[in-house]
């Protein structure tokens, strides 16, 4: 028996447009960011970091040309990663490069072009994000749709949502008219923590921005710390996108896609209580 469903207005035009621009920017920034990382594939804490300074993370290559081995080293821990990280094939030959050609923009090693892509789309992301935030605050979208209610934050409720997610049981009926608490918390985390952190740590790496706003250096504990936090926040954003895409696929891909394109979202009526 087919259950009845109703189309509701899910996402406003501003949300939909900024969402897709943001997705485009994120993809370009990630791939060009990996290109830039490859130019110096070590991360440090503090103001400085170069040859002799202790790196907390290095993606490198060791061995002779005939036997190149890639590794990821974090502190005392070193993992062999030949084929993907540290050493991967370029034109059929193993080559020393931190992230492989398929993950970087451009594919070949070209820091200058990577920076051009990165800095252009950084402006796009920052402007798009600022417009979204301003609209979300002014229209009440942030408070109305994204701030969890007190009831949603109750531990029992949160635990039930975790269990429901794990069993891939998604909300129906009235519950599906709003975001659940896990959605709200992860969207808010991205919107007000991770993306602003990306922009600010990106600025902190710029000597010109540091002169204009020296507090950036104090906020993040130095230029190399900012570079590390930039990398960590980018990693968390990649994890978010993976989970986000999985949830989109599992909870009704066409319905979700339609709601982010036309704004309309179908809600199934909840099952009758037995």
């Amino acid at each position: 028996m087919k259950r009845k469903s109703e189309l509701v207005r899910r996402h406003g035009a501003v949300t939909r447009v900024t969402h897709w621009l943001n997705a485009l920017c994120f993809g370009v920034l990630l791939a060009s960011g990996l290109q830039i990382f490859n130019a110096w594939p070590s991360l440090y804490w503090g103001q400085v970091g170069a040859d002799t300074d202790p790196a907390w993370l290095t993606i490198g290559a060791a061995g002779s040309d005939a036997d190149l081995r890639g590794f990821v080293r974090a502190g005392a821990l070193a993992l062999p990663t030949t084929g993907v990280l540290g050493v991967s094939r370029v034109d059929g030959q193993p080559a020393a490069r931190a992230f492989p050609a398929w993950a970087t923009l451009p594919a070949h090693q070209d820091l200058a072009a990577g920076r051009r892509w990165h800095l252009f789309f950084a402006w796009c992301l920052a402007i798009n994000g600022a417009l979204y935030l301003a609209w979300s605050l002014a229209s009440g979208h942030l408070r109305r749709d994204l701030l969890p209610t007190r009831a949603q934050l109750a531990p029992r409720h949160l635990w039930r949502e975790v269990v429901d997610h794990a069993r891939l049981r998604f909300a129906k009926g009235d519950e599906a008219r709003r975001y659940n608490a896990l959605q709200k918390l992860s969207y808010l985390g991205v919107i007000v923590v991770l993306l602003p952190a990306m922009v600010l740590t990106g600025l902190t790496m710029s000597p010109g921005a540091d002169a204009a706003a020296p507090w950036l250096l104090d906020l993040f504990g130095g230029r190399q710390s900012a570079r590390s936090i930039h990398f960590i926040a980018a990693t968390l954003l990649v994890l978010f996108v993976l989970v986000h895409l999985a949830m989109v696929l599992l909870s009704g891909v066409w319905n979700n896609l339609r709601s982010m394109i036309t704004g309309r979202y179908a809600i199934e009526e909840s099952e009758p209580i037995p």
């Binding site: 990382f37 970091g49 002799t52 051009r116 252009f120 402006w123 010109g208 002169a211 020296p214 230029r223």
Partner: protein, 262 residues
């Protein structure tokens, strides 16, 4: 000397007011041949926006952070050329740069040639700053040298001058036509910035060869590739279109931003 240093100060300030905006427009407008692996030309517009916004927020005299002696990097990485490969430079080094002269010419009222000893007699500035390589690493060093603005006031910058070009002794890439010669350029806003110095000492000692002996540029609000080493000649110009690749610097000719503030 000191009287000519102060001459034309107000006129220059007036001229400078228009430089940052005009420079940004010129950058956005010029269509440079792509040596940066075919990144679309529109991406270059970000450089214009970055320069305009940083200049707006910095004002003319915002300083790069200065650090303490305790922060100095024990091993400051030598990047790019570590020893210029030419007989002329070898001869200068052999004689401890006694025969070296810094030529200052182009659009100036009084071209000059200054020995290292003469430079060291001028009022000096010492600053402990962070060097940020475009590759991603950073190191802190202590630099002592002559503020470039002082020298420019001495030689008298002509009103038509818009950029300062630094010609270096090193060839980073060996080419038949000499286009691998290192050079750099900055505009007059950065040239007259108080932290823009021609450094002859690093960490309290004479500049060593790896770091650019006898003289290198420090322009602290920009990335490492602007900090030209092995300075031989300074030229004031109204444009740099005809010079080498036409983009105002060795790395700029290879796709990097002329405004290296980010």
């Amino acid at each position: 000397m000191s009287s000519s240093m102060t001459s034309s100060f107000s006129r220059r300030r007036f001229l400078l007011a228009g430089v940052s905006g005009a420079g940004a427009l010129a950058l956005g407008g010029c269509d440079r041949p792509g040596q940066d692996g075919g990144a679309p030309a529109i991406l270059r517009s970000a450089e214009t926006l970055t320069m305009a916004s940083q200049r707006l927020l910095q004002g003319r005299h915002a300083l790069a952070r200065e650090f303490s002696d305790a922060d100095i990097s024990p091993a400051f990485r030598v990047n790019g050329t570590s020893m210029p490969d030419s007989e002329a430079y070898a001869a200068l080094l052999e004689n401890r740069f006694a025969d070296w002269r810094l030529q200052i010419g182009g659009l100036v009222q009084r071209p000059a040639a200054l020995s290292l000893a003469a430079l060291k007699l001028l009022p000096a500035r010492t600053q402990i700053t962070r060097h940020d390589c475009v590759e991603g690493w950073s190191a802190i060093g202590k630099w002592t040298g002559v503020p470039l603005g002082d020298l420019l006031r001495t030689v008298g910058v002509l009103p038509s001058a818009r950029y300062v070009v630094f010609h270096c002794a090193d060839e980073l890439e060996k080419t038949l036509d000499g286009s691998g010669r290192y050079y750099e350029s900055i505009d007059l806003v950065d040239a007259f910035h108080p932290q823009t110095i021609l450094a002859y000492a690093m960490n309290g000692r004479d500049l060593n060869v790896g770091h650019g002996a006898p003289l290198r540029l420090r322009v602290e609000r920009q990335l490492g590739y602007k900090q030209a080493k092995y300075l031989m000649r300074i030229e004031l110009v109204d444009h740099f279109r005809g010079l080498w690749g036409g983009n105002g610097g060795y790395w700029e000719d290879r796709g990097y931003e002329w405004y290296a503030g980010s």
